[in-house]
């Protein structure tokens, strides 16, 4: 289509850069600098959308982020499809494809429009009152139908190919909004040496100056003043200008979220660059110059294509060089519309003004237009509109002095501007938790008391005079930067002032008078809600859905509040506003997620022998952030076969495990032993240097929190291990007690998890494998018994050598500096080759320890398990008066009979490997609900015992050893024998081997 509605001259578009886009398959033309909305209008396309509920034809209604109607699926190629994209804020780019939404089969012919015919049935809240009969219909018929009708666009189905970035910034002054007030604020603040950021949501900075053809500032035209001002700001090194950047959220302590659109306006963006950037700015001071939104007038049929906000007519004409129509009617209750009329007249549009106010209340602005060929019908109301897919007339009538409606008159037109006054955009201010106050004269909620570090300037404060905006902006910017410098701007007068009208006067109410266009909420809906008892504004909003559409009610909020007040006969401030929540405009999920995707979603931690494991075909499991080798299957081996081979190797020769993920904490100081006594259940002060002990850590509630080996290296130095997942929280737990309960203790805690690689060598041949590599240390049991620690030298490396076992076999854990972990691993493999050394993974480790009845914290425990429940009461140091958690062990429920206790289970059929998590029953024939006697915590096939083994927590378990119980399985139940949890080597002789 051709740009039949493009003016011959004017606008800020680049006529040298033509572009072409597709709209519902038809080519439309435009210029660089257009938005999708201005391009559509330039091509004479006014009917662009169907409404949410009634599927009514809709056109572009505004020129900015308040747009309720013009939402499209924008296709940027590939999987880059964005539903619900606002035409008024999306820059036109060559090659874009736009599709209208929410209709079937097409925009022009939409079956859903039938709803409009029966719309009286679908008044506010209708769905709460119906769809209940018959009951089964809800799920089968009603709900699917409601859902299919709801929603707007279609969500993409393919993964988003674009990247998003996060940026964090600190500044002294953040100015939000680059209209006159914001520009003045940035100018003032940047005269200091403070860091200033100026952010504006539009492609071009300037705000209202971008469509102002008639004002003057200090003798300059608005455009030339803007050019000079932006040049000055650009030249200052302490200023960062962020156009296309919406400040969407104002959070605690001056932390603001800003969304910068980086590439959507580019035809060929750099493929590796981010599409959008989320800025998180911590600002010393914030100046909010967020402007105001125009209010529509509410009358039946105020939603036809061709009807838009009055100021938007001016924007499309002046800024984009688009002729909004040939014959315009401007319906208004305020003065600013007269400036719109003047500007439209200047580009050759025939204009009639219908002013709701009486003659004497609009005489000044009416006089200014006298002789311009513009009819001004003061004291008139609009009764309805005509036209199907585009407005073609307004039905108007005079409002007689006594109140009744006079003779009707049809005003032919092809576009209509509505101006019901202005609503300051206090969203961010309100999010900052500043207090709002209602100004009766301005009919607006305005910023009153700021929280610290914030000030507002310009239209957001209800100051609509250009000179006042500039002056306030300057003052706010200067104050934010700590300057007292004054500056006076001389600007021409702005037409301001309006009379709030909630609903245009009419003799009777017929047809839909829309308050919220996107959600199809009418004035009647608001009245109905109030009459049904929904008096709070939040109730009205939720019952009618007014203000809950994707525009978040930017054009409707004040009209809704006003209508509620009017219906209740209350004052507006008594109704109050709904809460302003972030975001100001919708924010892409991907931008909020930022780089936290894929591998960076959560960083992957790998132990030193990870690369070796990858090379040797290991399969891995996630343990917290760690990737641990689960098993090393050989060709044609499944997991079970590999685990069986690995377990058997450990039992018969030796296995090697990368245990570096274990948490390691060094506890040092004169009071280290005393401190550990207070933290652990065990009495660790009696531990001799060179010895280790398996120890339990409880939380103050008495439940097992972590376990590990505490090794005493010297009198005042301990090396403590924790579980893999517990490393960070155990250190935190210890630090908390040390610093906040016992600061008098001389103890230092240092995490050395990352500093040491830990390689475990376990099995009867472990000593033989180790011996050739260790210098000057007698590995014989008499010299270096089980549960001992030595500092030694291995392969020339200083090491901490532990003789410990989590397998029940003779075993060592060798700690060397992490960077040498792989080298040590290689040396051990080499040394053990002839002896059958076998790398084993976490699965074999689990089986080996379960055969021995050793617990794993987090598997046998779940935060409700006390030491005695595990049969580990022996780890409580006898006679200890106190340690963390001791007192809780004496609470009634912890000493009551019937607690679940750790036992072993053997399937009676000697075949079934139980499922971990299976429940234990005494009588499988009991009717539902059945009593659970406990659950299976660990379960494996045991290669050493040649049978399935399981550990379970069972009520009074230890006294039930020998009994027959049942465990649930996917197929039903299986009989199990309760037994001692130690399945292999019950005397524990092998560790001493």
């Amino acid at each position: 289509m051709a740009q039949t509605y493009r003016l011959a001259r004017g606008g800020r578009i680049d006529r040298a850069s033509p572009i072409a886009m597709r709209f519902n398959g038809t080519t439309i033309e435009g210029y660089a600098g257009d938005t999708i909305a201005s391009a559509l209008l330039a091509n004479g396309i006014h009917f662009v959308a169907r409404s949410f509920k009634y599927h009514r034809p809709r056109g572009i209604f505004s020129h900015g982020s308040e747009e309720p109607n013009g939402l499209f699926a924008v296709d940027r190629g590939g999987a880059r499809i964005d539903p619900n994209t606002r035409a008024t804020t999306t820059e036109a780019v060559n090659g874009l494809s736009l599709r209208s939404q929410n209709h079937w089969p097409s925009l022009a012919l939409d079956v859903g429009a039938a709803v409009d015919v029966f719309s009286a049935l679908f008044a506010a809240g209708f769905y709460y009152k119906t769809f209940m009969w018959p009951r089964s219909f809800w799920r089968q018929i009603y709900e699917p139908a409601i859902r299919a009708a709801a929603g707007l666009g279609r969500a993409p189905t393919a993964p988003d190919p674009d990247r998003y970035q996060h940026a964090h910034a600190h500044c002294d002054v953040l100015v939000v909004g680059a209209g006159p007030a914001g520009l003045a604020a940035a100018l003032a603040a940047s005269e200091s040496d403070k860091r200033v950021i100026l952010a504006d949501e539009q492609a071009e900075m300037g705000g209202s100056l971008l469509h102002d053809m008639s004002s003057t500032i200090d003798g300059s035209s608005p455009w030339s003043w803007l050019e000079q001002t932006l040049a000055r700001l650009h030249s200052r090194s302490n200023v960062q200008l962020l156009p296309r950047t919406t400040a969407f959220g104002y959070y605690n302590h001056n932390h603001l979220g800003l969304l910068q659109r980086v590439t959507d306006h580019l035809v060929n963006p750099h493929p590796s660059g981010p599409r959008e950037r989320l800025w998180q700015v911590r600002a010393g001071e914030v100046v909010l110059a967020t402007g105001a939104h125009e209010r529509p007038l509410v009358f039946p049929g105020n939603d036809r294509p061709g009807i838009m906000l009055a100021e938007s007519l001016r924007v499309f004409a002046n800024r984009y060089g688009v002729l909004p129509g040939q014959r315009a009617v401007i319906a208004t209750s305020g003065a600013s519309a007269y400036t719109v009329a003047a500007d439209l007249l200047a580009v050759g549009v025939q204009v009639t003004i219908v002013d709701v106010r009486r003659h004497q209340d609009c005489a000044v602005e009416a006089a200014a237009l006298r002789g311009a060929g513009c009819e001004v019908l003061a004291g008139h109301t609009v009764l309805s509109s005509r036209g199907r897919k585009r407005v073609n007339a307004l039905l108007i009538a005079p409002i007689e002095a006594a109140g009744p409606i006079g003779a009707r008159r049809l005003l032919p037109c092809d576009c209509v501007g509505l101006s019901g006054g202005w609503t300051p955009a206090v969203h961010l201010f309100s999010q900052s938790r500043g207090k709002l106050t209602f100004d009766r004269k301005l009919d607006a909620f305005l910023p009153e008391a700021s929280v610290r570090g914030e000030s507002s300037a310009g239209a957001v404060r209800g100051s609509y005079q250009l000179s006042a905006c500039l002056a306030q902006g300057w003052r706010a910017g200067a104050a934010a930067a700590g300057l007292t410098r004054e500056r006076h701007f001389k600007a021409s007068a702005t037409r301001t002032g309006f009379e709030p009208v909630r609903l245009l006067p009419a003799a009777n109410r017929q047809g839909h008078a829309f308050v919220d266009l996107q959600n199809d909420v009418t004035a009647n809906d608001i009245g109905l809600a109030v009459r049904e008892g929904f008096r709070s504004i939040e109730h009205v909003k939720r019952y009618t859905t007014a203000g809950m559409a994707t525009d978040q009610g930017k054009t409707s909020n004040m009209n809704v509040i006003g209508l509620v007040a009017k219906t209740l006969g209350a004052a507006v401030p008594d109704i109050g506003t709904t809460t302003f929540r972030p975001p100001y405009t919708p924010v892409t999920f991907g931008a909020l997620a930022g780089p936290s995707r894929g591998r960076l979603f959560e960083p992957v931690r790998t132990p030193p022998a990870h690369a070796w494991a990858v090379r040797h075909g290991a399969i891995f499991e996630d343990v917290g952030q760690w990737k641990r080798a689960r098993a090393f299957p050989r060709a044609n081996e499944d997991l079970q076969a590999a685990v069986t081979r690995e377990v058997t190797a450990v039992r018969t020769s030796a296995g090697i495990l990368d245990a570096s993920t274990l948490g390691k904490i060094e506890v040092v100081g004169a009071d280290a032993a005393e401190f550990l006594d207070r933290m652990y259940t065990n009495r660790l002060s009696r531990l001799a240097p060179g010895r280790c002990r398996y120890a339990l850590l409880l939380k103050e509630d008495g439940y097992v929190f972590d376990d590990g080996v505490v090794a005493r290296l010297t009198r005042d130095r301990f090396h403590v291990t924790t579980t893999t997942g517990g490393a960070a929280r155990v250190l935190q737990h210890m630090e908390e007690y040390l610093q906040t309960e016992w600061p008098e203790l001389a103890v230092y805690l240092t995490s050395v998890t990352e500093q040491y690689a830990t390689i475990a060598v376990q099995g009867p041949k472990a000593r033989q494998i180790l011996a050739p590599l260790v210098e000057e240390l007698d590995l014989a049991t008499q010299a270096f018994p089980h549960m001992s620690v030595r500092t030694a030298t291995i392969c020339g490396l200083a090491c901490r050598l532990f003789r410990v076992s989590f397998t029940g076999e003779l075993g060592y854990e060798i700690n060397v500096p992490a960077d040498y972990g792989q080298a040590l691993w290689d040396a051990l493999i080499e040394s053990g080759k002839a002896l059958g050394i076998t790398p084993y993974g976490t699965e074999a480790m689990h089986v080996l320890r379960a055969e021995k009845g050793f617990i794993i914290v987090g598997q046998e425990t779940d935060g409700t398990v006390a030491p005695d429940d595990l049969g580990l009461a022996g780890l409580i140091g006898r006679g200890k008066a106190d340690f963390v958690g001791l007192r809780s062990l004496a609470r009634p429920d912890l000493v009551a009979p019937g607690r679940k206790q750790l036992v072993g289970l053997a399937s009676e059929d000697a075949r079934t490997v139980l499922e971990e998590g299976a429940q234990i029953l005494a009588d499988p024939s009991e009717p539902l609900p059945m009593r659970s006697h406990g659950h299976v915590t660990s379960s494996y096939w045991s290669p050493s015992c040649h049978q399935p083994i399981a550990l379970a927590l069972i009520a009074d378990g230890r006294s039930r050893i020998g009994q027959r119980l049942h465990a649930t399985t996917p197929a039903g139940v299986v009989a199990v024998q309760v037994r001692d949890p130690i399945f292999f080597d019950p005397t524990g002789a092998r560790v001493h081997g």
């Binding site: 932390h255 630090e735 908390e736 906040t740 600061p743 007192r887």
Partner: protein
Amino acid sequence: MLLIPCPYCGPRPEIEFRCGGEAHIARPQDPAKVDDAAWGDYLFLRTNPKGVHAERWVHTHGCRRWFNALRDTLSDRILATHAVGERRPDPPR
């Protein structure tokens, strides 16, 4: 996200810290002498006020030191922070 003035490091973003809950809940000197109800109260009972709250924070990803803060739980404003053992300042008006 809060901006928390660590007494040792200065103002830092909240994600560097961990909140340790209500402050000044003293661990009984001799827990064995405390009855079940009192011990339960020590473990679990919290003031949870709407207004000024004395609470503990630890600068986990910084100096790793614990400290105390006074924060208004309605406005989330931090009124003061101080080192463990230092006298608790009066909340500024």
